[in-house]
């Protein structure tokens, strides 16, 4: 982040700083949404779920606001090198954050469905819990990496997505077994599967944010790269 403070125009510095702060504010909102949605699911708290659905509007508003600001900076300042990479990363990051918000909202809606229709037991919680915690940590770490432009943290977070993916695979396999054993549970199982799917997607979006951090800091594009050693 030190690099962004070196412009001759102080106004430009401030603009970049403020748009960066807005991104992190948006990130904070989505973190809260995810927390509340999972809380709603685990505790059967439908009020928390309703809050999450309401919060998504704020996130969407922020996305539009930041988009506008980035467009204005691109048009008036014509940034180059690291500044250009930063603006590009911000534009992409907010799309991912907004999607994360949508997924969190989906979790909230599914939880309300589950609460209304069927009985969820402790075993169902446990399956989601481990995955939920992992994804929460990933989200937090990816935003921390974005705040500090810490490519090392970004890389380690990027790699932890594999864990989420493998947990998702295990969960879907066990769900299929459950469904075959007891076809009456299919509706409930499908809902839980979709919640897991939403969590897995949030993990992917966090991973994307980490890619943008590395791209901004190092100028290195690691998307679709197979070999990440060194």
């Amino acid at each position: 982040m030190k690099e962004f403070n070196k412009h001759t125009s102080r106004k430009f510095n401030e603009e970049l700083e403020s748009v960066r702060n807005s991104v992190l504010k948006m990130g904070g909102l989505v973190e809260e949404m995810l927390t509340q949605a999972l809380h709603g699911f685990f505790q059967g708290d439908s009020q928390a779920c309703t809050n999450v659905i309401a919060m998504d509007d704020h996130v969407n508003d922020l996305e539009l606001e930041i988009d506008d600001e980035c467009r204005r900076i691109l048009a008036t300042r014509a940034p180059a090198a690291i500044d250009l990479r930063l603006i590009m990363a911000i534009i992409k990051t907010i799309t991912d954050i907004e999607r994360m918000g949508d997924e969190a909202e989906k979790i909230a809606r599914l939880s309300i469905n589950l609460l209304e229709s069927s009985e969820i037991n402790k075993a169902d919680h446990l399956e989601i819990q481990a995955m939920g915690e992992l994804v929460q940590t990933m989200t937090k770490k990816s935003l921390d990496a974005f705040a500090r432009f810490d490519s090392e943290l970004a890389l380690s977070t990027f790699r932890s997505d594999e864990m989420v993916d493998s947990q998702y695979k295990t969960l879907s396999r066990s769900s299929i077994t459950h469904m075959m054993e007891d076809p009456r549970s299919i509706t409930k199982r499908l809902n839980i599967m979709w919640i897991a799917r939403a969590l897995e997607r949030i993990g992917d979006h966090s991973k994307n944010i980490c890619e943008y951090v590395i791209y901004t800091e190092k100028g290195l594009d690691i998307r679709h790269a197979e070999d990440l050693e060194g």
Binding site: M1, E17, R20, N21, L24, K25, G27, G28, L29, E31, E32, T35, L38, H39, E133, Q136, T137, K140, L143, D144, A147, R148, D150
Partner: protein
Amino acid sequence: MRLTNLIFFLLGQLLLVIIATFLLGTLLGGFYHSALIIISAYLILMLIYVFSLKESLQHGFKIKWLGTRGFLSEVNSSIEALSKSRWRYRKRFAQLIKEVNALASAIPDAGIIIDEFNNIEWCNRSSLTLLGVDQDRDIGQKVGNIIRFPAFNHYLKNHKMDNFIDIEDSNNKRFLRFRIVEYHDHSSRTKKFISVRDVTAQSKLNQIRKDFIANASHELKTPLTTIKGYSEIINEDSKEQELANFANQITLQADRMNKIIEDLLSLSKIENSDMELNDDLIDVGSIINQVLESYESLNKKINFKLSIECDKKLISDESLFYSIVENLISNAHRYTDEGGDVLISWSADAEYATFTVQDTGIGIPQESIERITERFYRVDKGRNAKTGGTGLGLSIVKHALDRMGAELIIESELQVGSSFSCRFPNKRLAKD
């Protein structure tokens, strides 16, 4: 250097120069030339001294200069003493800073200092473990970029003196209490100090206590209803007078217990800071009359006198205010003998609007006034059975007034009477 010292020094130097000139003059035969040579040599010597002093000073007095011995040794010792005292001072200062830093890292609470643009200027070690704010990397970063709880950022914008917020950090399963104080630094810029404490244990305990009271009260109510129902049936159907009397006693005590449970429930509701207060426009006079109506039909006659001097309405929560009025009047009724006077007044002056209930009852001993608002506190342990009441009325009054930002003033004299005043700040009166 004192004047005499200076004169002696100058005379000595002059004498030295004159003697040297004289000796060289006799040796060479020309006094003028030799004087010139000696004075030039003296000047050069002095310049060398000055140069070596400059060099030595530039290296922090680590290199010795030429004046350490000889006729400039006094200058040398003065410089040495000065530098030594400065060095000692600096060392003490460095130690102090070190100690403050060690203290700051030893504190289990996180502390962060931010400037007027919310950029982090300083933080201690605990802020890494509690909040993930790293003292090596995050200096200069906006605090909201690292601590991203929306509730915290809202608090950062709207904090007031003496308030705090508790935020649940679900990633680490912790409750954190944030508190912000503002201060001004040496150049009178506004800075903020954020202190964060882990209150997980505390908030869990508090939650357990609240849940317990609410649940226990609720659970007690169900069996009580059954007891009351059957005792009423026995009372009505029983042919034996004695049995009917017993059943009647059971009904009365069950009613009393029911009242205690209701009071406990409403107390826990008032205490719960999540409960939002309404800003109703309260017509105090009509509330007092409503409460008094229920006392008209009672056997025990008390002379209630009303004095409504203020016709402005009070802005506050109506149901809370009603329970205050009801509790105070029922206390006055209970502790005043038949035929006694109770004065109820509502007035306002420049600062406060005051609701007062003044009785001519038995009074409260001085040492009990302080404790009378505690839950279940009784002045006389044996008295409760006779007078009834739950022992929670004044607690409810006190807590309700606390929530409304008002205070309770109790004055009393034994056998003469007591006066309970609720003082509301004047700004709570409606401007019609």
